[in-house]
Symmetry: C2
Subunit: 489 residues, 2 copies
C-alpha cells in the first residue's frame, strides 16, 4: 500500500515505529505491534507498527514516522510503500523462555542483538523479563547473556593491570560506602573508576549524593584524564556504562520493580567486565526490608556471582552484610554528603556504622588485590580526606566544601519517641518513602536525619529522627506518614 | 514544575500519556512509565509518563499531551503543573500474581478496573498476561475475573429465554461451521447471534468469510432488528462485544501469541454471559498443529470450561474434535465462502468433512436446548440455504449470490504430488502461512484450495492443492514456500 509520509516530531527512545490509520490497518490485516517493511525510493526499513485510531493525527492514506524511523528511512519523496514483514528471530526465543525452556547460545544472541538494535517493543521485552523472573537463567544462559552483552560494548574501557571495583545491590538507605572506599583505595595507589546510579525509587543514589560535592557526568576522554590524575573517580553510570540491551531491560523492569536474579547478575557483571574491572567486591545486604530477605537467598546469589565471575576471570569477593536498617545517619543527597565529610574529616558527629563498614570493605579489596595497606590508617591519617578533595577538584567541584556549607531544608519536624524503650526496628522501605515525600532526591536538602539507631535506648520525648524539607507542603505531607517508621519495644 | 502545554495529535489508543523532556525528567527524578499528576486551573489528571529524548518534539519546559490526555485535561490555559503521583493499586496485585500468589477478589477488581479505565501501560498489562501464563488462574480467580469483566459491560445484551451460541478456540484452517450452524439453528426456530473474529494470524476469520456474502458491522439497534426478523445473525465481534479490559489483554497477547488458558476461558465466557447466551457449544480441536496438541490438554480445558460455565448458569457442552488438518477445501475468504454455498446448495463439490462437522455440532445444540429437530434434514431440505439467503439479505448482502459469482485470484499454481503414495499430513500452521503469503485475508480472492485431504491416495503428478493469488509477486512468493506443507508416505 502506498502511503503519504508524515514526520512525527517525537522520539520513541529507540525502536523504529511507524503509525497508520485504523482503517488502513484493517484493510491490510495489520495489528498494533506487527512488523512492517517501509520502502522509499532509495531505502527501506523495518518498523514496529502503531495503530492510530484517534480523531486527529494520522489520516487514512498517511503513514506517520516517529523520529528514529524517519531518520533511518530519510525519505527524499513524499510516498512510502508499506508491506507486512517478518517478526524478529528473538520472539520465538522469548516464547521458549516463557515456556520454561533453556535457551541455547543462538537464541540468547538473537535476543541481545534484537534488544541492542531496538527491534523489540517494550511489550516483548517485558515478556522476556517476566520469563526470566519465573524461570531463572541457568549457568549456561547466564554465560551466553554476559558474553553477548559485553560484546554489545560500552563507551569506555579502562585498561589497567589492576582495576578495583565494588558493587552493592542496594535497598539500604544511605549506605554510601563508595564515597569512602574510592578515596581510601586511590590513596593507597589502587585504580578505581566507580560508576554509580541515581535514585530510581530511593531518596538518593550515590550519583545524587556525589553530585552535592562535584560533577558526575564527563566525556570518556575526560574520565581517563581524571583517573590518570587521581586514580579514583565517582561518576554517574549513564556516562560510561553499557547502553543498548541492558538499558532496554532496565526500563521495563522499573514499573513493577521486577528484579530477576539472573538478569541482575548479568547486568552487573557485564558492566564490570566491559569496563575492564579486574577485582570486584560485591555487597549483598540482607534484612526484612532489604532486597534480600534471608541469608539463604543471599547465599544462593553469592554462589552464582562467584561461579560466573570465575568463568570471566574477574576476581570477585562477595560479602553478605546487615541490611536490617539504614547505614549512616542522613537519608537524602545533602544529608548523606554531610555524613561522608564528617567521616573523612574525623568529626565526632560521623556515623560509626558507615565508617566501620567502609573500612571493612576497603580492607577486603586490599586483600583481594594483594595490596599492603590498612583502610583505617588511611582514613585516620587524613590521606583519604586529602584524596577525596583531589577527586572533588578533578570532578569540577569545590574542594574546600565543608559540611557547614551544605544547606538542609529549612522546614523541619522532629519525630519524638512516644514512649520509653529500646528501638527495635527502623523500616528501610518506609523511611525511604518518607524521605521521598519530604522531597528527596529532587530537593537535595530534603530528607531524614536519624538521631537514633536500632538497639538504642530512648526516653519518652527523645528525638528519634528529623525530617528536612525545602517547602512546607512537603513537610506536612511527610509528617503525616512519620508514625509507622520506628518500632519501639 | 510548571510546564508549557503542547498538544500532540496522536492517540495512544486508550491510556492517558504525557511526555516531557529528558532534562526535566532528570531534575524531577522521574522515569519513563512513572505516573504523574497534571494540573491545569480547572482540572487535573493522572497520566503515564513518557520521556522525550529526541532532538525534535518536546523541549525542556514543555509537556506534550497525547490526544486522550489533552481531551481529559481540556486545558484553558497554556501552563500545567506536574507532580509525581502514586502507582495504581493493581500494580501490587500484578506483582503478586507474577510471584505465584493467588489473587483475592479485591486484587482482581483492581486489575479489571485499572484495565478498563486505561490506567495501566502495555508493559504492565504484559506482565499480568505473563503472570497468568506461568501461574494459571485458579477457579476462584477465574470466577472473580469473569464477574468483573461482565460488569465492565458490553454494547448489547440480547434478552431471550433461549439464546444459543457456539465457540471454537480456533487454530484449524477453514472450519467455518458457524456459517452453517447459524442458518440451521435459525431455520429450526432457535435464536443465535453469533459474533465472530477477523483473521489475526490466520488467512481468514469467520467475519472475513461472511463479509464476502454480506456486511458484518451493524449498530446495536440494527442487530436487534435483524435478529427479530431472521433469528440468526453472523457479525464481526468488534461490533458488540465487551471492550475495555478484554481488548487491552488481547492487544498484548498478540505479539508473542501468548494464550494463557485462564484468560482464554475468562475472555470467552465473559463475552457469552454479557451477551445473554443461555446455551453454549464449545469446540476444542486437537492436533499436532492445532492450538491444543494433546487430548489430555483438551480434557483439562474442557473440565475448566464446564465447571466455570455451571457457576454462571450457562448450559455448556464442550466437544473435543479432530484438528489434525484443515476442515473444508478452501482456505481464504472467497474460497471458504464458496465451500459454504456448495454445502448449503447441496452441490457435489461441497466438502463433506465440513458439512458433517456442522451437522454434528448443530445437533448437539438441538440436544442442549431440547429442540426437536434434525440438522441433516434441515440442510438437505434446503431450509438452511433459504434461511442463509434471508440472513444475507438482512445483513445487506446479495441474497442471489452464487459460488460462480465469487471471484478467485487469477494467478494460480498447482502443487502436484512428487510421488505415488498416501497423504499423511497437511500442516495447519504452514498452509495458513502459505495462504497469507498468497494474499489472504487482505486479498479476498487469494488462498489455497485443497483437492486432496489426509489419507487420500495420490499418483505422481496429481494436483494436491492450488494456490490462488491476485497478483503475480504474491503467487511467486507463495510458490517458493509450497513444498513443505504436505507429507506423503
Amino acid at each position: 500500500m502506498d502511503l503519504k509520509i508524515k514526520k512525527i516530531n517525537l522520539s520513541t527512545g529507540g525502536p523504529l515505529v511507524a503509525t497508520i490509520n485504523k482503517k488502513d490497518a484493517e484493510s491490510l490485516g495489520l495489528f498494533a505491534l506487527d512488523r512492517v517493511n517501509i520502502k522509499s525510493k532509495k531505502r527501506e526499513i523495518n518498523a514496529l507498527l502503531d495503530i492510530s485510531n484517534g480523531t486527529g493525527g494520522i489520516k487514512s492514506g498517511q503513514i506517520g514516522l516517529f523520529e528514529e524511523a524517519y531518520k533511518a528511512l530519510n525519505p527524499k519523496e513524499k510516498i512510502a510503500k508499506i508491506t507486512p514483514s517478518k517478526t524478529p528471530k528473538s520472539i520465538e526465543a522469548i516464547r521458549n523462555k516463557l515456556d520454561g525452556k533453556e535457551l541455547n547460545k543462538k537464541e540468547v544472541i538473537s535476543i541481545i542483538n534484537d534488544l541492542t538494535s531496538n527491534k523489540l517493543s517494550d511489550i516483548e521485552v517485558s515478556y522476556f523479563v517476566a520469563a526470566c523472573y519465573n524461570h531463572d537463567l541457568s549457568y549456561k544462559e547466564l554465560t551466553f547473556l554476559i558474553q553477548e552483552t559485553v560484546k554489545d560494548g560500552n563507551k569506555i574501557k579502562i585498561k589497567k593491570k589492576i582495576l578495583a571495583d565494588k558493587h552493592c545491590i542496594g535497598g539500604v538507605p544511605n549506605n554510601r560506602t563508595t564515597m569512602l572506599i574510592v578515596p581510601i583505595l586511590a590513596a593507597a595507589g589502587l585504580n578505581i573508576a566507580k560508576t554509580s546510579s541515581r535514585a530510581i525509587t530511593s531518596p538518593s543514589g550515590t550519583a545524587d549524593t556525589m553530585e552535592v560535592l562535584a560533577k558526575v557526568k564527563f566525556s570518556p576522554n575526560k574520565i581517563k584524564n581524571i583517573l590518570k590524575k587521581t586514580r579514583g573517580i565517582i561518576i554517574w553510570n549513564e556516562t560510561m556504562e553499557i547502553t543498548g540491551a541492558d538499558t532496554r531491560l532496565i526500563k521495563v523492569r522499573h514499573p513493577l520493580r521486577i528484579d530477576p536474579k539472573g538478569l541482575l547478575i548479568a547486568s552487573i557483571l557485564a558492566k564490570k567486565i566491559a569496563a575492564g574491572s579486574t577485582h570486584l567486591l560485591i555487597d549483598l545486604p540482607v534484612g526484612k526490608n532489604a532486597k534480600l530477605k534471608t541469608k539463604k537467598e543471599a547465599n544462593t546469589l553469592k554462589k552464582r556471582f562467584q561461579k560466573i565471575s570465575k568463568k570471566f576471570n574477574i576476581k570477585t569477593k562477595v560479602i553478605i552484610t546487615d541490611g536490617s536498617q539504614p547505614i549512616g545517619n542522613g537519608i537524602g543527597p545533602n544529608l548523606e554528603a554531610i555524613d561522608i565529610l564528617y567521616i573523612l574529616k574525623k568529626d565526632p558527629r560521623a556515623p560509626k556504622d558507615l565508617e566501620k563498614k567502609a573500612i571493612m570493605m576497603a580492607d577486603k579489596i586490599f586483600k583481594l588485590t594483594k595490596t599492603k595497606a590498612s583502610a583505617k590508617k588511611i582514613l585516620n591519617s587524613g590521606l583519604a580526606y586529602k584524596k577525596m578533595k583531589e577527586i572533588i577538584k578533578a570532578q569540577k567541584g569545590k574542594s574546600n566544601i565543608t559540611p557547614e556549607k551544605i544547606n538542609l531544608g529549612k522546614f523541619t519536624y522532629n519525630y519524638r519517641s512516644p514512649k520509653k524503650g529500646k528501638i527495635k526496628e527502623i523500616n528501610n522501605i518506609k523511611i525511604s518513602k518518607l524521605a521521598r515525600l519530604a522531597g528527596a532526591p529532587q530537593n537535595k536538602g530534603a530528607g531524614i536525619y536519624l538521631h537514633k539507631k536500632v538497639n538504642d535506648k530512648v526516653k519518652k520525648g527523645d528525638i528519634i529522627f528529623t525530617i528536612y524539607a525545602e517547602n512546607k507542603d512537603k513537610l506536612e505531607f511527610a509528617k503525616k506518614e512519620s508514625k509507622e517508621i520506628i518500632k519501639i519495644k
